[in-house]
């Protein structure tokens, strides 16, 4: 522990902390390129030069540790170091460094993807000169080099901060990248025979402070100042990496990781990031439809739900019904499903598909559904690991599938062979999948990025996802579907139900009456979030305001 004076501010610097880290922590901004909080420190870019009293030259703040001085040597009687970050001398030095960095940097901001979030632009605006004194031909380097499947490298734009190299050496430990050549001719390249194809390769694009590394799928698509970012969570595994979804005019342009020290730090895997590409060009329907004579017919909301409910409500015994649920449902949707099940089947039935896959030691987790642990916390049942759907639908009469494409690659005959008694298949899903095509009733749901909700990750971190794009009116989150069902049921004539048991109808009315008092009939996210709060005692008094962008840690959920 040492006491440092920086621009009139007294700062306590820990033993293993550098000057730059301490300054950033206290809100004193020192410009930097090569420093990254989760990578090792190299002092490569020289941008963080500061004046330290007693030193003959300017020092880089990023690799200066502060020693504790003996009492008689302390400056002004108490400081271990005195630092100036804003003097004319320091500014002049930074201006010089910037000029060096920009000597061979092409002036192609109009076609550079980084423009708008480029550190060179930001610091040039702050410290740089408007014109360069370099009057010679700029050095030329390889441009448009495909380092990997998703990465394009432009060596002319590179400032050799080596962040990408350190990322591959320290975080993924795959060691693909290195610096080639010497002096001014240095540039980054892969080792011979290697390609930058590790599962976290696109993170190098995020940490590149300039436009040298670009993401192939996002290249030239949209300028960053047009993009609108909303906080969300990656749905591809139970890690639940915090992400920012950048949209432009209702279209998802890219997904970038968002800093969350409890979950994913600064990074995310390529698989999750490429979700923005995978959800493109998928068939979408915007209104519920009923299969009549082999073809889907679009119905109005009221007509559809009346038909659906009169066909499934309390008609089957619970052992004749199979409900396949998905970890892609948010906590609110699971709570809403409980209500739905209580009304329609008389008890909470249904099993969550336990889909697993590869995992690694960095971020990717085994469970391939986002809210697996949310469902666990809400005490839902699960199938066996990667269980085939044929076991689940055997000898069943009604199959309800929510947010899962279980009949992938299957034909109608296969299903009939396995479940000859099958009468009705109801599918709730975002996309018009193969399962939806084989079902009798199809309800389009809002996608992961089109609704609000909360999810719980493997560690028990509860995070909120937000509505990044607005879906068409017909596509709703499942909790809104349940709200619609409740309102329609309330108005429905009880004689519509074919069930002859008046006792059952009485119980439906009882449940309806109960939920009327609990405000969930008002559509929207918040009343259902209240239901989740009631279900999980740990967050009983949590308000949405307390839920920061990092989320909240639940002790009783998750593995830990």
């Amino acid at each position: 522990m040492a006491l440092v004076w920086i621009d009139g501010k007294e700062i306590v610097v820990e033993k293993n902390e550098t000057l730059l880290q301490a300054a950033l922590r206290e809100g004193i901004y020192i410009p930097y390129y090569c420093y990254h909080p989760s990578l090792s420190i190299v002092g490569q870019c020289r941008m963080c030069l500061v004046k330290i009293e007693g030193m003959p030259k300017l020092m880089t703040a990023c690799n200066t540790y502060v020693p504790e001085l003996p009492k008689e040597k302390k400056i002004d009687g108490k400081y271990d170091m005195k630092v100036y970050t804003r003097t004319e001398e320091v500014k002049e030095a930074r201006r010089g460094i910037l000029e060096f960095l920009l000597l061979n940097h092409p002036l192609d901001c109009p076609i550079c993807d980084q423009a708008g979030e480029c550190q060179l632009q930001i610091y040039s605006y702050e410290y740089g000169n408007a014109r360069s004194d370099f009057r010679f031909e700029k050095l030329h380097f390889p441009k448009r080099v495909e380092l990997g499947e998703h990465i394009v490298y432009d060596a002319e734009r590179c400032i050799k901060c080596t962040r990408c190299i350190r990322f591959c050496n320290e975080i993924t430990k795959t060691q693909e990248l290195t610096l080639i050549d010497r002096g001014a001719n240095t540039y980054v390249d892969t080792f011979e025979g290697k390609k930058l194809n590790n599962p976290y390769s696109v993170c190098t694009v995020d940490i590149c402070p300039v436009g040298a590394l670009t993401f192939k799928e996002f290249r030239f698509k949209e300028r960053v100042w047009f993009l609108q970012g909303s906080n969300s969570v990656c749905p591809e595994c139970s890690r639940n990496c915090a992400i920012r979804v950048d949209t432009y005019k209702g279209e998802i342009m890219r997904i970038v990781p968002r800093f969350n020290p409890e979950v994913n730090n600064y990074f995310m895997c390529d698989f999750g990031r490429l979700l923005s590409e995978r959800i493109k060009n998928k068939e979408l329907r915007n209104s519920p439809a009923i299969k009549e004579n082999g073809a889907f017919k679009v119905k109005s909301e009221k007509e559809f739900y009346t038909t659906l409910l009169s066909k499934i409500t309390r008609k089957y015994n619970s052992n004749e019904v199979s409900v396949i649920l998905s970890g892609r449902m948010t906590n609110e949707e699971i709570e809403a499903y409980k209500v739905f099940s209580l009304i329609v089947f008389g008890e909470v039935v249904g099993e969550f598909l336990y889909v697993t896959g590869d995992e690694d030691k960095i971020l990717i987790k085994k469970e391939k559904r986002a809210n697996y642990f949310g469902a666990k916390t809400l005490k839902m049942k699960f199938t066996k690991e990667n269980e085939d759907v044929t076991h689940l639908i055997k000898n069943k009469k009604l199959v309800v599938i929510i947010r899962e494409n279980v009949f992938k690659g299957k034909k109608e005959e296969d299903i009939k062979k396995n479940a000859p008694s099958l009468e009705t298949v109801v599918t709730f899903d975002t996309f018009f999948t193969e399962t939806a095509q084989l079902s009798d009733f199809y309800v389009p749901l809002a996608g992961w990025f089109e609704m609000e909700g909360t999810v719980i990750n493997f560690n028990g971190q509860l995070q909120k996802i937000s509505k990044c794009i607005t879906p068409p009116k017909g596509r709703k989150p499942f909790y809104d579907v349940v709200s619609t069902v409740l309102t329609i049921l309330k108005d429905m004539d009880t004689s519509d139900f074919k069930s002859e048991k008046t006792k059952e109808i009485e119980s439906i009315k009882k449940v309806l009456e109960e939920f009327k008092n609990r405000e969930v009939m008002n559509k929207g996210f918040y009343p259902w979030f209240k239901e989740v709060k009631n279900a999980i005692p740990e967050i009983k008094n949590l308000s949405l305001k307390d839920l920061t962008s990092f989320g909240i840690f639940l002790k009783e959920s998750g593995n830990g």
Binding site: C109, P110, R223
Partner: protein, 164 residues
């Protein structure tokens, strides 16, 4: 604020001197140079610097100058410009795959011309844009480039685009 109505004198209340003044002005114009143009038989030639329809210019290499940086799209107050960028084999890498200007929205302010780093978009002489259908007022890239080539308005002032 209260403005007091002036109290007129008796000769002012006659109105005749004022009428005479007006007629004199009309009479004087009979002998002045005529400014009316018998459009469409007669065509008006816009002065230099006239802000007509924004069009796309072609460089000396026969390629469109636009690199699709979308600054015009950003600055355009009525958002009349829409660009879809694409990648080419050319060293400049980026080019406008699609470029639309909706003249129904354009207010001819000239911001796009001012902001363009490549001098690729220019407000030229063209002003006869009226149509019976609004959809016809959305001009695509081919038409805009053709309009840019039509009049050699910029001849002699064109600068080749710097590489890099």
């Amino acid at each position: 604020m209260i403005v007091k109505r002036p109290v007129l004198k008796w000769w002012e209340r006659l109105y005749l001197p004022v009428v005479e003044d007006g007629l004199l002005t009309t009479f004087r114009h009979l002998f002045k140079k005529k400014v009316t143009v018998q459009y469409p038989e007669e065509r008006w030639v816009p002065p230099e610097g006239f802000r007509g329809a924004p069009v796309l210019l072609t460089g000396l290499d026969g390629r469109e100058k636009c690199t699709s940086c979308k600054l015009c799209m950003f600055i355009c107050p009525p958002q009349a410009i829409r660009i879809v960028a694409g990648e080419t084999e050319h060293p400049i890498e980026k080019y406008p795959q699609e470029f639309y200007i909706d003249y129904g929205l354009c207010i001819f302010c000239g911001y796009c011309q001012e902001v363009c780093p490549c001098e690729a978009i220019w407000l030229k002489h063209e002003f006869e844009l009226a149509d019976f259908d609004r959809t016809n007022l959305i001009f695509g890239k081919d038409k805009l480039l053709q309009m840019g080539r039509q009049e050699p308005y910029l001849k002699g002032k064109e600068k080749p685009l710097k590489k890099g």
